[in-house]
Amino acid sequence: MRQNAALSASDDLELRKQAIMIGLSHFMSADECLTAVRHWEQHFSRAPRFALQAYVKELIQPDSPLWPYRKEMFLNITRTMTLPRQEIEARFATLFAAEIVPGDNTQAVQQSEAQPVFEQLYRVLMQKLETESYPSALALRKFLREKILQQEPFSMETQRLNNWLLGIKPELDGVLTLQQMRHIVHELWRGSCEYLGPVKTDRMFAEAIGKVEKKTRGEGVSPRVFL
């Protein structure tokens, strides 16, 4: 029953983006929906479900002709979010198939901008982990590989990711989606909790985020987007 419940903050990012676009499609063109969902991804995707109300309020300014329709817009989105996955995907395909190549330009945070920041965050976190406890860092790399690549079939891409996660290669040489990057950071946090404890982990993450934020200021993507 839990699986059928409304999408929560930790549910599939792509699916929630699709649900928002479907919800907005009654009021906006496909391009406008795309801009709107980018705004959501950038500023609200990590927030709890009920932050949607704030999102709609921020999206529609008082001088907009859509101002009287905010309530319907909000209800449309929340209703869509409670639908089963297959139905959301089917509706999205029908509504946006012509305009949008899936997994491509719906990305609010452009992968080309995000990936260097992500790689830097990963590097800083790993350095910190190794300083804290080298055996734990090694174990953590293996833990990550297991968690990230367990379900993936073998391919050159997974092999490259495997080498990068294990520290065999310093550069990633591949493209990851924002969701994959978030997944890796989250699993790293989980693993670090197991090996170093949650208090050290939170402190280490906060320090790493601060450091990368300083280094990448002006690049348009905050490392916080991966949390």
């Binding site: 839990r2 990590r46 208090v199 949390l227």
Partner: protein
């Protein structure tokens, strides 16, 4: 609580007499009783502030809003549930000895009934809030509140009716046996402790609380000053909790308040001595928990033992709290604030002590057997029912927050606001500010 009945009957008798013909002395006594009961109820209400400070202080900063919100809302929802169903189940006509069957959603009743309902509502809220601290930092807010409503509306009142029911007709089966639990070491505290135990079993420990070898890791609370302040507020509130349970403004309040105070002091000393003798660091959290353990333990026998035995009861409770915390840790049961040893274990010990140290009837084996039976009955009722309740909540709406939410902190993921926005540079998630 046995005195409630006499007090109540006095009250109903008075209700038949018009104010003009009422005996002024008795009327004054009744008014004083009411004032005392409401004042004591307000003191018990203030304990909620103590719980909120203590529990949020023992949690990490990223979960502190969530802890306070749980304390706040379990009081609100629990009070409504107790008025709606709980009071009737606990104090209504009880022909079977198992549960009350009248006086639901009380209205059009005697003034005394309202006073008593007010006072007892605070007790029910206390029983419900005990679990919140134990289950902190990984429980979904809505799921926890569902549990709190069921605790106040059903689990607490049913057991309460066995010991304190009924005020009207019939009597609880444990009350008939002569079970002593004056203000609720078992009825309120042990029951809350066993419910907390069931909760933490269903939830499992916080991420990283135990390392891969099963060794416990300390996850320190974010504000030990508020823990200390919370402990002191609880101590103050307990004077209302125990002395208010006379339900009448009579001279016995002095002994009850003194016993309460001495047991709390002895509890803290007991915890301190245990840490010293076992060459452990002298932790503030254990010391304060020791004091609260002393308060919990004296709650059952505060009206029926001499001060010397209150001190012994408190001292042992302090030891029970420290040892109980270590035992839970060994079993890998993650109780954030130590609610199970403080309320569950110390409550059980206090109920036994109430049977051991009865003034004029010390160490009566029959009384001790009755006390043991009452303690076991409390566990046998509350623990499996709470286990089932939390299990069902977990299967349906989900009791445990997701790991992403645990990472972000429940303040952010459940409430979208953080407790200390000025110090956010050190936080991973900055909320809406």
């Amino acid at each position: 609580m046995k005195k409630h009945r006499g007090w109540y009957l006095l009250g109903t008798g008075l209700a038949l007499v018009t104010p003009a013909t009422a005996d002024n002395g008795v009327g004054l006594q009744q008014a004083m009783d009411t004032v005392w009961l409401i004042t004591a109820g307000a003191l018990v209400f203030f304990m909620q502030a103590g719980f909120a400070l203590l529990e949020s202080g023992m949690s990490r900063a990223k979960n502190s809003v969530n802890v306070v919100m749980k304390n706040y809302m379990d009081l609100c929802l629990g009070s409504l549930a107790f008025w709606l169903i709980g009071y009737g189940l606990m104090f209504g006509d009880n022909p079977t000895g198992l549960l009350g069957q009248t006086h639901f959603w009380l209205g059009n009743a005697d003034h005394m009934d309202y006073s008593l309902l007010f006072f007892q509502t605070m007790f029910a809220a206390t029983a419900a809030t005990i679990a919140s601290g134990a289950m902190a930092e990984r429980t979904r807010y809505g799921a926890y509140l569902i549990g709190a409503v069921i605790v106040c509306g059903m689990i607490y009142p049913v057991y309460g009716s066995w010991v304190w029911g009924s005020l009207y007709k019939g009597s609880g089966w444990l009350a008939e046996l002569g079970f002593i639990d004056f203000a609720g070491s078992t009825v309120v505290h042990s029951l809350g402790g066993w419910i907390a135990l069931a909760g933490i079993i269903v939830l499992g420990p916080r991420l990283g609380r135990y390392d891969e070898g099963g060794k416990s890791r300390l996850i320190a609370g974010h504000n030990l000053n508020s823990v200390a302040l919370g402990g002191l507020i609880l101590w103050l509130g307990w004077f209302g909790f125990n002395a208010g349970s006379t339900a009448s403004a009579d001279v016995s309040i002095g002994l009850i308040a003194l016993n309460t105070h001495l047991a709390a002091a002895a509890g803290a000393v007991g915890a301190l001595l245990t840490m010293l003798l076992s060459r452990k660091p002298i932790l503030l959290t254990h010391t304060i928990n020791g004091g609260i353990g002393g308060l919990v333990s004296i709650t059952a026998g505060c009206a029926s033992m001499e001060p010397l035995y209150a001190v012994i009861t408190g001292l042992v409770a302090g030891w029970v709290v420290v040892i109980g915390s270590a035992l839970l840790d060994r079993l890998r049961l993650d109780d954030v604030v130590g609610a199970v040893p403080v309320h569950g274990f110390a409550g059980a010990w206090g109920t036994l002590a109430a049977g051991l140290f009865v003034t004029g009837d010390m160490f009566n084996p029959i009384q001790i057997l009755v006390q043991v039976l009452g303690i076991l009955a409390g566990f046998a009722w509350a623990f499996p029912v709470a286990l089932l309740m939390y299990g069902l909540i977990h299967l349906t709406v989900g009791l445990r927050a997701g790991t992403v939410d645990e990472q972000r902190g429940l303040d952010f993921s459940e409430h979208y606001e953080v407790a200390y926005p000025e110090f956010q540079s050190a936080l991973l998630h900055q909320g809406k500010h």
